[in-house]
Amino acid sequence: MSVLASPRADAGAAADIVRRRLSRRGTDLGGRLFEALLLLMLLAGLGVLGWLLTVVTVNGLPTLVERGGDFFTSGLASRPERAGVAQGLTGSLYLMGFVAALAFPLGIAAAVYLEEYARDTALTRLMNGVVRNLAGVPSIVYGLLGLAIFVVALGDVLGPGRASGRSLLAGGLTMAVLVLPIVIITAAEALRAVPVAIREAAFGVGATRWEVVRHHVLPYAAPGILTGTILAMARAFGETAPLIVVGAVVGGFNLAYDNPLEQLFGRYTALPTTIYDWAGNPPEFAGNVYAAIVVLLVVLLGVNALAVVLRNRFDRRW
């Protein structure tokens, strides 16, 4: 560099050069262009999303306001002014319940085994890889799996009689299988985030592996596990394709059963499949479709917000 080239350069001249260089404004044109491009792409993505939300809300709110509580208490009907989301919402809540009751205990147990107990063998690594890949399998494949196993093979048990196999139980089991890999992966990540130092500390005072897991690893990983599983529940709530395959859309949730057990073995529908069904109806149903989408989005955003709140609340620094 010219400034350094001659150590005996006149001090005043050197200072001049330094001053000029330092005060030279940034002329990184390429960098600025790139930044602008990135911003543009971000805005484009957000714009589409915002547009979508606006269209849905603008079209759905009038129906929601007009129908009020009636929209939530009426079931499927051939006339739009009498059709509501009662059956769909109930069915979806049931499905979330299934996921909570089946996928969580199984998924968390599998994650604890893989992370805390399994030795690092080729088999363990294979299992980890399989779980990872299963999480990426398209949901329709799980739908077909559910159709083959829960509807056809086990249909007489899970959905006898008029349900002809397409029962809430079959749908719920399909959903639980669908989210199981996601639950395992998020739980495993939460467990892995607990520092080795904490495990060593507990082992160091003479705790058994079970005591280390029970008193330390699981409690400290709980917020992360909870967040992941809540998001998995949201996934189950919004999932449509596999339910269409296992028969939710042709069903109708009978809200009049006295015994909830009967509901499990009977036909059902879910909120997303209700929307799918209505979307194929005459245009008079448009208001209902949008209103149901608003309900779906509000529930999903609520569930996701809950996950964020829980994560922030129990956030732990090591």
């Binding site: 030795r119 690092d120 520092p195 130092a197 904490i198 495990r199 060593e200 500390a201 507990a202 082992f203 160091g204 005072v205 003479g206 705790a207 058994t208 005591e211 008193h215 330390h216 400290y220 732990r316 090591w318």
Partner: protein, 281 residues
Amino acid sequence: MKTLTRPAPDVRATAAARTGRELPAEAVLELRGVSCWYGDVRAVRDVTLDVPRNQITAIIGPSGCGKSTLLRSLNRMNDLVPGARVEGRILYHGVDLTDRRVDPVEVRRRIGMVFQKPNPFPKSIYDNVAFGPRVAGFAGGRRELDELVERSLRRAALWDEVKDKLRSPGTALSGGQQQRLCIARAIAVEPDVILMDEPCSALDPIATLRIEELMHELKERYTIVIVTHNLQQAARASDMTAFLTMGQDRAGYLVETAPTTELFTRPRQRLTEDYITGRFG
């Protein structure tokens, strides 16, 4: 239920009888030809060493010479590292700790550990100390446990600083306090031996000095083995010093072990002298 009481003195005699030879006086741990491996890599080669009762034994040596590995082998902590194994014998009351039939949980209740980085549980100060006794099936009631926690914190010279905030999280303490909390946690299960793996490397000089004073008080009741990269600390705080260094095969081996003043003033080995005078390492 498992008792936590210190083994009766005659255990030593029984052990001697069982092994069929006289044990050197006072040795709590006897390492005989101990080698530590990670998979196919030997980290420590053929260490033979006696750890005398109620004294502080320092293990010094350059980075990567296997000091921590050797220390962690003494209470089966390296069982947790996949692929780690130990050859040779580590005799504790005549029992070979490297024997697979020995329960590592039982070993760790008698041979406790304090780690390089303070690692309190993200729980209250009280629960940090009470955890060990609880999992050991502490027999007493509420008040006895309170007393045990207080006694442990007093012995760790932390009681006066935390007695009014036993319910606040242990992680909120300063680094030096956290390390003393970890010491309190280790002594709450009434161990025989306390292993310390560079316990002051994350602490400032004042906190370091407090830990060293504390070690001096603790050796009345416990046997301490400390790994340190700090030569001054070894010289100040220990009674015996073992010097490890790396051989051609990158495995650490024991060069010399002697009473600390002797090792630092009249080292028998050239390697030791070079190391303690700062010519290498």
